[in-house]
C-alpha cells in the first residue's frame, strides 16, 4: 500500500467494519458447516461428502455475506436516519455544496447499436434537467458512437442534429462515431479522452439507458470540487420506465431492497468503492494517468480486451491514491432493466466472462487495495456460485444414489479401525434449511419492515400496504422460481467462458417481448435436465424426489415463465392493479422522469421512407449535413470513395453491401453528386426510379 493510502483517515473505520463483517460471515458459515456435517450421514468422512462440504462452504458464506451486507445497511440507515453514512461525501460537504463553483465537465454517452429513440429521449431529459439548474454552461455533452451499421449510426446522427436544434446546443452537444471500434466500450471512452479529455476536469459517464437529473450531475461535480482526493464518485442508479412484468419486478426490487444493500456496501467500502461503469463522475486527469487498460496477454479467457473494465478502473485509480466513493444519498440517478429474463441472461453472459477475467487482477496485479480484491472476488463468485450450486446438487444426488443402491460403507476412512455408522438427522436438515431460508430472506424482510415501520414517508411510492405485501410475496415467489433457471444459465456461461467461447459485444435489447419458440429453444436443455434429474430422484428415493421439486419445477416452467414475464400486457395489467408499484410509477420520482415521459419525439423520417443510407443521400438537408460532416480524405482513400461514388451513381445502392456503400459518405463531393443526379435523373434511370419511389412512399400512410 502506498503512503498516501496508509494515511487514509477512513482506514481505521473501514478495517473495523470489514473485520466485523468477515467475522460475522465466518461465524455464521462455521455454524452452517457444522450443521451440514451433522446432516451428512457419515459427517463428512467419505470423498463425496467432502465434495458436498467443499461446495456448501462457499455457497453458504456467499449467502451469509449478502445477508450481513443488508443488515449493515439497515443499521446505517437507522443509525443516521436514512441520510447515509456520516463518512459519506454528502454528509461531510453537503452544507457547503450550494456555494461551490462548477468546473468544466463532459457528459459522455457511449453507445453501440442501441434503440436510437430511447437513447436520445434519455439524453434530452438529462440535458434539459441540467440546463434547468442554471449551470448548463459548465457542461458539454458527447454522444460517443461505436455503431457500425449505417442504418443505426445515420439515425443516431439525425437524432443528434434534431436534439441540437431543439435545445439550441450546436457546438456543445457533440456526436462522434469511431470508425475502428477497438477495445469495445473501454476503447470508445479512451478514444474520447485522448482527443478531448484534457479540456475537461471531470467527465460523467452515462449508459445508453441512463437518465440523470441535473441536480444529481451538479452535485457530483461539486462533491468532486470539495474532495480533491476523490477520483470517482458512483451514484446508485434506480430502475425506471419498466413495462414488462419482468422489468417491473426488477424495478420493484431495486426500489424496495436496493437502499439496504447499497447502504451496506457503501458503509463497508467507504473510500474504496467500485465503479459500475455509468452514472458516475470521474476525475479526468487521474483516470487518464492511471486507468489505461492494456489488452491482456494471457491465455484463453485472459487474452484480449478487458470486458468488465469498470471494477478494474476503480481499483487502478485507487492504487494511484485517489478515493472512490459510492454515494447513496444522491437522488435522480436512473437506468432501465432488461425487459425479460432472456435479455438479462444475454447480458449476464458478457458479464460472467468479464468478471471471470478479474481473476487475473485479483491474483496478479500489484498494488491493488484489498477491498478491491474482495470486490473482484465477490464479482467472480456472483457467477461462479452457479456451477458450485450445480455441483452441490450433483454430489448430493450421487450420495443419495449410493444409499439407494445399498452401497453402504461402514469404513469410509480406510485408516480407521472402527466402523462409521451412517446416521440420519432430519431435525438437523430442517434446522439447516430454515437457517438458510432466514439468511436468504432476512434482507428482504428487513427492507419491508424498514419501509412499513421506520420509513413510512416512502410508502406512498409503493401504493397501498396491501398491494405492497402482495407484490412482496409475488416477487419472492418469482425469485424462487427464477433462481434455478439463472443458476443453470450462469453455469453454462462460466463453462463457456473458461473454454473461451467468444462473446459478441452487442447492444442490449431494451424493448421486445419473448416469443414461445425462442423461449422453448433457449430453455429446452434445462427442461430435459430437470426431467432427467427428477426421474432419477424418484427412482432412487421418494423423499429425495420431493427435495428436487422446487428446482426441477422451475426449470420445467422456464419457458412459460420467461414468456409470461416478458409480456407488456401483463406488466401493464399489474401496474393498473397496483402490484409492484414504485415511486417513479406513482409520479413520486425525480422530475427528470416526468420530463423523460413528456418529451415529444417525432419520427426522424416517414414510416414508409427508404433505409437511412438512401434517405441520407436523397434528403435535401440530410445529404448536405452528410457532406458537411464527411471526413476530408486525400490520396488513395479519396480515390476509393470517388470510385465508390461513381459506382453507386451508375448502379444504385441495391447491389452494394450496405456498410461498403456507406463509405461514400466519407466523400462530400460524391454525396452531393449522387444527390443532385438522383433528383434530376430520368424515370428510367436507377436513381430516377428511386426518387419516384421515395416521393410516393412519403404520401403512403
Amino acid at each position: 500500500m502506498n503512503t498516501k493510502i496508509a494515511h487514509d483517515p477512513f482506514l481505521r473505520t473501514a478495517l473495523i467494519r470489514r473485520w466485523m463483517f468477515m467475522l460475522l460471515i465466518m461465524t455464521q458459515t462455521a455454524f452452517g458447516v457444522w450443521g451440514m456435517i451433522w446432516v451428512l450421514p457419515y459427517h463428512g468422512s467419505p470423498a463425496i461428502e467432502q465434495a458436498i462440504l467443499a461446495t456448501f462452504i462457499p455457497l453458504y458464506a456467499f449467502v451469509a455475506a449478502g445477508s450481513w451486507m443488508a443488515l449493515f445497511g439497515f443499521y446505517i440507515r437507522r443509525r443516521y436516519g436514512g441520510r447515509g453514512d456520516a463518512n459519506s461525501l454528502l454528509a461531510r460537504f453537503g452544507d457547503q455544496l450550494p456555494s461551490v463553483e462548477l468546473a468544466t465537465t463532459a457528459v459522455a454517452l457511449p453507445i453501440y447499436h442501441e434503440d436510437v429513440e430511447r437513447v436520445f429521449r434519455g439524453l434530452q431529459a438529462t440535458i434539459e434537467s441540467v440546463l434547468a439548474t442554471g449551470q448548463g454552461s459548465a457542461f458539454e455533452f458527447f454522444v460517443l458512437s461505436d455503431s457500425r451499421d449505417p442504418e443505426v449510426w445515420l439515425e443516431e446522427r439525425a437524432a443528434w442534429l434534431r436534439l441540437c436544434e431543439v435545445l439550441d446546443l450546436h457546438g456543445r452537444l457533440h456526436y462522434r462515431r469511431r470508425r475502428v471500434n477497438l477495445k469495445a466500450k473501454t476503447g470508445n471512452v479512451s478514444d474520447f479522452l485522448r482527443r478531448w479529455g484534457k479540456k475537461f476536469k471531470y467527465f460523467i459517464v452515462l449508459d445508453a439507458d441512463s437518465v440523470m437529473s441535473g441536480q444529481a450531475i451538479v452535485t457530483l461535480v461539486r462533491l468532486m470540487e470539495c474532495e480533491p482526493k476523490a477520483g470517482m464518485i458512483q451514484t446508485v442508479p434506480k430502475l425506471f420506465n419498466a413495462r414488462s412484468a419482468f422489468a417491473r419486478m426488477q424495478q420493484f426490487v431495486t426500489h424496495l431492497y436496493g437502499p439496504l444493500f447499497s447502504e451496506g456496501l457503501a458503509a463497508l467500502q467507504l473510500n474504496e468503492a467500485v465503479f459500475w461503469g455509468h452514472n458516475a463522475i470521474i476525475r479526468t486527469e487521474a483516470f487518464m494517468a492511471h486507468c489505461g487498460l492494456r489488452s491482456m496477454r494471457g491465455l484463453g479467457l485472459w487474452r484480449g480486451t478487458v470486458l468488465s473494465h469498470d471494477f478494474v478502473e476503480a481499483s487502478f485509480i485507487r492504487r494511484a491514491g485517489y478515493e472512490v466513493w459510492l454515494e447513496t444519498g444522491i437522488e435522480g440517478s436512473y437506468e432501465e432493466s432488461p425487459p425479460s429474463l432472456d435479455d438479462e441472461l444475454i447480458r449476464d453472459k458478457r458479464w460472467s466472462k468479464g468478471n471471470l477475467q478479474h481473476l487475473r487482477f485479483l491474483g496478479f496485479e500489484r498494488g491493488i487495495a484489498t477491498a478491491h480484491r474482495m470486490a473482484f472476488l465477490n464479482g467472480i463468485f456472483a457467477y461462479l456460485a452457479s456451477p458450485v450450486w450445480f455441483l452441490f446438487l450433483l454430489f448430493s444426488t450421487i450420495e443419495v444414489a449410493q444409499f439407494a443402491a445399498g452401497d453402504i460403507n461402514y469404513f469410509p476412512d480406510a485408516h480407521s479401525l472402527y466402523p462409521n455408522w451412517p446416521q440420519w438427522h432430519p431435525q438437523w436438515a430442517i434446522i439447516l434449511v430454515t437457517s438458510t431460508l432466514v439468511t436468504l430472506f432476512l434482507p428482504k424482510l428487513l427492507a419491508l419492515f424498514e419501509l412499513l415501520i421506520f420509513d413510512r414517508k416512502r410508502l406512498p411510492g409503493f401504493g397501498s400496504t396491501g398491494r405492497l405485501l402482495q407484490g412482496f410475496l409475488l416477487e419472492n415467489m418469482f425469485s424462487i422460481l427464477l433462481a434455478p433457471i439463472r443458476m443453470l444459465a450462469h453455469s453454462a456461461y462460466v463453462v463457456q467462458a473458461v473454454i473461451n467461447v467468444s462473446v459478441a459485444w452487442a447492444g442490449q435489447n431494451r424493448s421486445s417481448e419473448i416469443g414461445w419458440g425462442q423461449a422453448f429453444i433457449r430453455h429446452a436443455p434445462g427442461m430435459i435436465l430437470a426431467l432427467t434429474w427428477s426421474g432419477i430422484a424418484l427412482s432412487l428415493d421418494a423423499n429425495f424426489f420431493y427435495w428436487t421439486i422446487p428446482i426441477s419445477l422451475s426449470l420445467l416452467l422456464a419457458a412459460p415463465i420467461t414468456v409470461w414475464l416478458s409480456r407488456f400486457t401483463l406488466g401493464d395489467y399489474w401496474r393498473d392493479q397496483g402490484i409492484w408499484s414504485t415511486p417513479p410509477e406513482q409520479g413520486l420520482g425525480c422530475p427528470v422522469l416526468v420530463q423523460f415521459s413528456a418529451i415529444d419525439m417525432p419520427a426522424l423520417k416517414p414510416t414508409n421512407a427508404p433505409g437511412w443510407l438512401e434517405w441520407t443521400l436523397l434528403h435535401p438537408n440530410q445529404a448536405r449535413i452528410a457532406a458537411a460532416l464527411a471526413a476530408h480524405r486525400t490520396g488513395a482513400a479519396k480515390q476509393a470513395s470517388t470510385d465508390l461514388g461513381a459506382r453507386i451513381l451508375s448502379e444504385g445502392l441495391d447491389l452494394i453491401p450496405r456498410r461498403q456503400a456507406a463509405r461514400v459518405l466519407d466523400d462530400a463531393d460524391a454525396v452531393m453528386r449522387i444527390h443532385q443526379h438522383a433528383w434530376q435523373a430520368p424515370p428510367d434511370d436507377v436513381w430516377g426510379r428511386t426518387i419516384d419511389t421515395l416521393t410516393r412512399s412519403i404520401c403512403v400512410r
Partner: protein, 112 residues
C-alpha cells in the same frame, strides 16, 4: 398543352384516342405519359421543397410547367453545403496505465 416538349421523357405525344384502346385482352387504359411527366416534375419539386423547408408552396395550375419545376428544383439543388460546428478542437492527450502512484491531482479548494 404547351409544356409537352422534347425535354420530357415521353416517347411521343398521345392523342385522347390512345388513352383507351380495345385490345384482345380487353379494355386497356394508357395514362398519358405527358401528364405523368408533368406530375413527376411537380412531385419532385414539391417533395424536395417539402423535405427542405417543411412547407411546400403549390399552385397546381402554374406549377404544372415542367421547365418551371425543373428550374426551381435546380435552384434548390444548388443550395450550398452548410458549415457545421461539430466536435470541439482536439487537445491531444494519452490514457496511460501506471503502476506507481503519481502525484495527486489536487485542485485548490473552492472558497465561498
Amino acid at each position: 398543352m404547351s409544356d409537352i416538349t422534347p425535354e420530357t421523357y415521353s416517347d411521343r405525344i398521345q392523342s385522347p384516342d390512345d388513352i383507351v384502346q380495345i385490345t384482345a385482352a380487353g379494355l386497356t387504359c394508357q395514362y398519358p405519359n405527358a401528364i405523368c411527366d408533368q406530375l413527376r416534375w411537380l412531385q419532385r419539386r414539391v417533395f424536395y421543397q417539402f423535405m427542405q423547408t417543411g412547407c411546400p408552396t403549390i399552385d397546381l395550375e402554374a406549377d404544372l410547367s415542367i421547365e418551371r419545376n425543373q428550374a426551381d428544383l435546380t435552384e434548390r439543388l444548388a443550395v450550398p453545403v452548410p458549415v457545421l460546428r461539430t466536435m470541439p478542437v482536439i487537445v491531444r492527450g494519452s490514457v496511460r496505465h501506471r503502476h506507481k502512484a503519481g502525484d495527486l491531482v489536487i485542485p485548490p479548494m473552492v472558497s465561498e
